[in-house]
């Protein structure tokens, strides 16, 4: 029989080899998100898949071309393209409008905002010498330099540990003032042990290990799930809309910020987007559907129009291009209060493409 000291030693050696081997493998795995369309339902936190910043970075690097302009689409579900089937989304139309001297990558996330995976990838590409245009949607409200959605803040802490990380003073100062959280700690630990990278890689490419009731056959690797965004059928838009709730939302937006509130808003824009990215950043204010806004009182409509008119001026004061491209859209251009249909997405792309080209990119 073997004495207990030898047994413990053997157990410890085995555990160290197992744990250490996984960590080393986590450093080495060739993570990527290809085949990538956008962060659809099955490759996003909705179904317990938390994409690593490194996988998105490797994917973007794989597509990047120094002889072309990279257009990185960030922001929320509006630019992500809810209500737009893959191939007929805003980013797809934009790519076609811009032509082959531009590469468009849609890294927007449902519930996301200006800060997030897209901005981190854009600023890192820019720092690596690529010609980059960044765009994300906003309203006349402040931005959190680490991102507003708590499900996505892990990205910031993870990005901060990566080799391609680009420090941006105001953001890092803001981050350092935050309370110590597990997300922050976990990402510091991950920088050494690479558990997120290894298990995400295996889950994307070979087998997924976390049960999700929303992912049929949850064990299937996530690269096998198709982008399941779909077009609304004709007449399908607004079927489930709650008119009074939607009207309440747009009415709550129709309160023009005071001068001091505008200053706070633009100060947050200023400290959120890195200086390197500002000159080629579009902050897009996409209006809500006229299907709902036409129900507003004339005074409220005028107040809201005033905000859309003021925002571009405020954006230009902080060195960015705040734009209002959905001015003349009609009800058919939306599928609900906020999101554009494929029809609207095409119009939106036609509005944005000339503005992007005017920046002088498209080598």
């Amino acid at each position: 029989m073997v004495d207990w000291r030898s047994r413990l030693r053997a157990l410890a050696v085995g555990a160290a080899v197992g744990f250490g081997g996984c960590s080393v493998a986590g450093h080495l795995v060739p993570e990527t998100m290809e085949p990538f369309t956008r962060f659809h339902f099955f490759v996003s936190p909705d179904t317990d898949y938390y994409p690593t910043v490194r996988s998105a970075w490797n994917m973007a690097l794989g597509r990047a071309d120094r002889n072309k302009t990279m257009v990185i689409v960030g922001g929320s579900s509006v630019l992500y393209g809810i209500g737009q089937v893959s191939g007929k989304s805003f980013a797809d139309f934009l790519g076609r409008e811009l032509g082959d001297r531009y590469i468009v990558i849609n890294l927007a996330m449902r519930g996301g905002d200006v800060v997030g995976m897209a901005m981190f990838i854009a600023e890192a590409l820019k720092a690596n010498g690529y010609d980059v245009v960044y765009m994300a949607d906003v309203f006349a409200s402040g931005l959190n330099p680490l991102g507003e959605n708590p499900h996505y803040t892990y990205m910031y802490w993870q990005y901060r540990t990566e080799t391609f990380y680009q420090p941006w003073g105001p953001r890092e100062a803001y981050a350092d003032r935050q309370a110590f959280t597990e997300k922050q700690f976990a990402q510091r630990l991950n920088a050494v042990l690479r558990f997120n990278n290894l298990w995400n890689y295996l889950g994307y490419k070979y087998f997924f290990t976390v049960f999700s009731r929303y992912a049929p056959q949850f064990w299937r690797p996530r690269d096998q799930y198709a982008d399941n965004e779909h077009d609304w059928p004709p007449g399908g838009n607004y079927v489930n809309i709650n008119r009074s709730a939607s009207l309440a939302i747009v009415n709550s937006m129709a309160k023009a910020p005071t001068e001091s509130e505008w200053e706070q808003v633009t100060a947050s824009w200023l400290e959120t987007v890195p200086d390197s990215l500002k000159p080629t950043t579009f902050l897009v204010l996409c209006r809500k559907t006229p299907y709902v806004t036409k129900l507003m009182s004339p005074e409220a409509q005028a107040e809201l129009a005033g905000i859309y008119a003021e925002a571009p001026l405020r954006g230009s004061r902080v060195g960015m291009h705040a734009v209002d491209p959905c001015r003349d859209f009609d009800a058919d251009d939306y599928v609900d209060t906020t999101h554009l249909s494929s029809l609207g997405a095409q119009k939106f792309a036609r509005e944005m493409a000339p503005m992007i080209k005017m920046l002088g990119g498209g080598k």
């Binding site: 053997a10 197992g18 996984c22 597990e182 700690f185 042990l193 298990w199």
Partner: protein, 38 residues
């Protein structure tokens, strides 16, 4: 005797892999509390 030890090494290896997976799946939620307590 060597077979026994190899069995323990193999069991330890499985624990090591599971420990790594635990960090991915669960993390260490207790750590910030300890940090704040001190």
């Amino acid at each position: 005797m060597r077979g026994w030890l190899l069995g323990y090494v193999a069991a330890g290896f499985v624990f090591g892999v599971l420990g790594h997976y635990y960090l991915y799946r669960v993390g260490l939620p207790i750590v910030p509390f300890i940090y704040q307590a001190f």
